[in-house]
């Protein structure tokens, strides 16, 4: 249906967005690449010339590198798992008839509006503080020793805080998908004697696969670069140093821009590996 004329028009209309993003990507990327090959210590004489791959070998051979990659994957994976499993359960629940559905829905999506910094501060101080936190009061009320959340179960705590922020997002997308499910199909299955689990497994879940894919894709993009939640709570201690945080430490705490830039390049590589992996699933599901 597309004519030559509209193709040209389409190309013209796409140009601004593509051009801007290209610039946005290429300028910082090329600057990162440039700095990653240089010895650049802002506090000690600034840019001191090329060292080529020294920063790369140093960053990857550092004893902090692989643990950081692992932590990144654990946190991203953990949050995805929590938000999808609980998101489906919540969506199924919210889909049921009830009184005050609109209000409940607002309550559930509210955490999505909260700034990451604020949510990390609130969780850290008002809930997870081992002396004055609400959890500590709760634990003591039941005669238990308060858990020191941020050092006893640091990764879990961070996954919990981040999941709290992203669960609403997952729930909403999944809820919209569930609401679009043809109820006749479910009824037919029920008539045929399929139990609730079977109905969920054979009809609802496949129907949700596209929505789940979207949740995974969008959330991964944001989760790979979470920073505020770690900066505020543990500062990367107790095994919560992600790759993003390690780069932050190299660039701003150690003031080694060259080394940090090399780390940035590794982070882009990791992100692209994850992205490639995602695109294979997404690509399949997006076309349906």
């Amino acid at each position: 249906m597309a004519t030559q004329h509209s193709r040209t028009a389409a190309r013209i209309m796409m140009t601004p967005a593509v051009f801007l993003l290209l610039v946005w990507m290429l300028v910082p990327l090329s600057m990162t690449l440039w700095f990653s090959f240089r010895r650049f210590l802002p506090l000690r004489g600034g840019d001191q010339g090329f060292v080529w791959f020294e920063n790369y070998t140093r960053f990857i051979s550092s004893s902090s590198f692989w643990p950081a990659v692992q932590t990144t994957l654990v946190i991203v994976g953990g949050v995805l798992l929590v938000s999808i499993v609980f998101g489906i359960l919540l969506a199924l629940l919210l889909d049921q008839p009830m009184w005050g559905q609109g209000v409940v829905r607002i309550l559930v999506i509210a955490p999505f509006f909260v700034m990451p910094t604020v949510s990390a501060l609130v969780w850290k101080n008002m809930f997870m503080d081992p002396t004055n936190g609400l959890f500590a009061h709760l634990w003591r009320a039941f005669g238990a020793d308060p858990v020191v959340w941020l050092s006893d179960v640091p990764t879990f705590s961070i996954i919990m805080i981040v999941s709290w922020q992203w669960l609403p997002f997952a729930t909403l997308i999944l809820l919209t998908a569930i609401q679009s499910l043809d109820s006749e199909q479910l009824e037919a299955a029920e008539m045929d004697g399929a139990g609730p689990l079977a109905r969920f497994g054979f009809i609802t879940l496949p129907h949700l696969s596209r929505a789940i894919t979207i949740v995974i894709l969008i959330q991964t993009i944001f989760l790979l670069s979470i920073f505020a939640e770690i900066f505020v709570t543990t500062g990367g201690a107790f095994g919560t140093r992600t790759l993003t945080y390690l780069i932050y430490q190299r660039v701003l705490e150690s003031q080694n821009v060259g080394l940090g830039s090399a780390g940035g390049v590794y982070a882009i590589i990791l992100a692209n590996i994850v992205a490639l992996f995602l695109m294979r699933i997404v690509g399949k599901n997006l076309d349906r």
Partner: protein, 438 residues
């Protein structure tokens, strides 16, 4: 909410932006500062400064970690965002040496630069030139509960040892009532737990580097110091002390949950302030401890100071503000309005000669602690660096933050003290190699 309302709202917002841009003052200086109590108080008095001089002041008040990140980025890139930066004793000599700060040699005679405590002045200078004026200075000392100490049947000497601290902590520890024998910093970060464990190390004769910049965490002194600290805190410290920094401990102590607390001398005015502290009338002070037979004590030296970045267009106005904020008159102004106990301490000799201030219970101990600190000679063995709770080299902040994270993991029981020391040794040597020291 329709699209139209959104559009209309943003149109109104844009108009407001234009309007507000038009009302700028003639001379305005921008000051980046930390959100500590004394600085917030200073903000409250800014109007008086503006009245006197006609110079308007914009404050950028940030939490300590964010502030450091913000001002460091700006100074190293010559961004020129701030006319005055609040920095510490660690940054000042390094930045001064790089030529990034305006030397403060234009201070007026009334300012009386010789009145600054010599230790503070030395710590904020490079090659004899002053680069930042101390707003307040501090060392560290023991704050303890006199009532609990008495109940335990002990008496705090003026200059106790770590061994006595352990004994007293055991006697005061009362888990039934939630009272911890001793509260100390364990929180990761070079300026938090990192600073505390470094001075603890000093008081056991440990040091960061030998004279050839080799990390010293494989030496027995470090093992002794760290083991002592971990055992003390595991036995008599609060749960989760690996997350506690200055602020967390302050709030614990104010709530009456600590028998002893060894920390910054500025805390003394907070813990004796009846409006904030439940134990205000029963706090005693003593010099920071040392290990038996080691001649160095575990007291540090720090100042929050005001400096003028070289990139500013408003150096004169900035200098005027610094003179005002760190002057004797400012101290008197605060004393008049809020009482002598609340003036910014530790910067001027004359403050400690003021009779009214000598009546403040913690004044003498603060001065003694500051005088006992020697940044050029922090520990027993000679070192190639300056600084007591830090090493004044640009790489230190990064290294010490990671090292303190390893230590904190040991406090939390995630690794042994030996493993933590081994990791610390590797991290430090790795970073020193990357920076070209070794």
């Amino acid at each position: 909410m329709s699209l139209k309302t959104v559009l209309r709202a943003s149109g109104a917002a844009a108009l407001c932006a234009i309007a507000s841009a038009a009302t700028a003052q003639d001379t305005t200086i921008t000051i980046a500062t930390v959100n500590n109590g004394d600085m917030i108080r200073m903000q409250g008095y800014t109007d008086l400064f503006t009245e006197q001089t006609g110079i308007a002041v914009e404050w950028v008040t940030l939490e300590e970690n964010v502030l450091r990140q913000r001002v460091t980025t700006d100074i190293t890139t010559n961004g020129g965002q701030f006319d005055i930066m609040t920095i510490g004793m660690y940054e000042t000599p390094i930045w001064g040496a790089n030529g990034w700060l305006v030397p403060l040699d234009g201070l007026s005679d009334e300012y009386d630069v010789d009145d600054l405590l010599p230790a503070m002045r030395a710590g904020l200078s490079h090659d004899g030139t002053l680069y930042a004026a101390p707003f307040y200075g501090e060392s560290s000392m023991i704050m303890y509960r006199t009532d609990l100490m008495e109940a335990a049947g002990l008496e705090m000497p003026d200059a106790p040892t770590w061994q006595f601290i352990r004994e007293a902590a055991a006697a005061m520890d009362d888990p039934e009532n939630g009272v911890n024998g001793v509260c100390l910093r364990g929180k990761p970060g070079w300026g938090e737990g990192g600073a505390f464990i470094t001075v603890t190390g000093n008081s056991f004769g440990a040091r960061w580097f030998d004279e050839d910049w080799n990390a010293q965490f494989d030496q027995p002194e470090w093992a002794e110091a760290l083991n002592f600290y971990v055992n003390l805190m595991n036995d008599y410290g609060p749960d989760g002390y690996e997350n506690n920094g200055f602020n967390e401990n302050l709030s614990l102590f104010q709530q009456g949950l600590c028998g002893m607390w060894i920390d910054a001398t500025v805390a003394a005015s907070f813990v004796t302030n009846p409006e904030e502290s439940e134990v205000a009338d029963s706090v005693g002070f003593a010099l920071a401890p040392n290990s038996e037979g080691v001649e160095r004590r575990s007291n540090w030296l720090w100042a929050w100071a005001l400096a003028i970045p070289a990139g500013t267009q408003q150096a004169d106005a900035a200098l005027q503000f610094i003179e005002w904020a760190t002057s004797r008159e400012y101290i008197e102004l605060v004393a008049e309005n809020e009482g002598w106990a609340n003036v910014p301490p530790g910067a001027r000799t004359s403050l400690y000669e003021t009779p009214e201030y000598q009546d403040v219970p913690f004044a003498q101990m603060t001065l003694d602690s500051i005088l006992a600190a020697d940044p050029t000679n922090p520990t027993v063995d000679p070192v190639p660096y300056v600084g007591i709770q830090f090493v004044a080299i640009p790489e230190f902040a990064g290294i010490a933050t990671e090292v303190s994270q390893e230590f904190a993991a040991a406090y939390a029981g995630q690794q042994t003290v030996e493993e933590a020391l081994e990791r610390a040794q590797d991290i430090t040597n790795e970073a020193m190699e990357a920076a070209g020291y070794r």
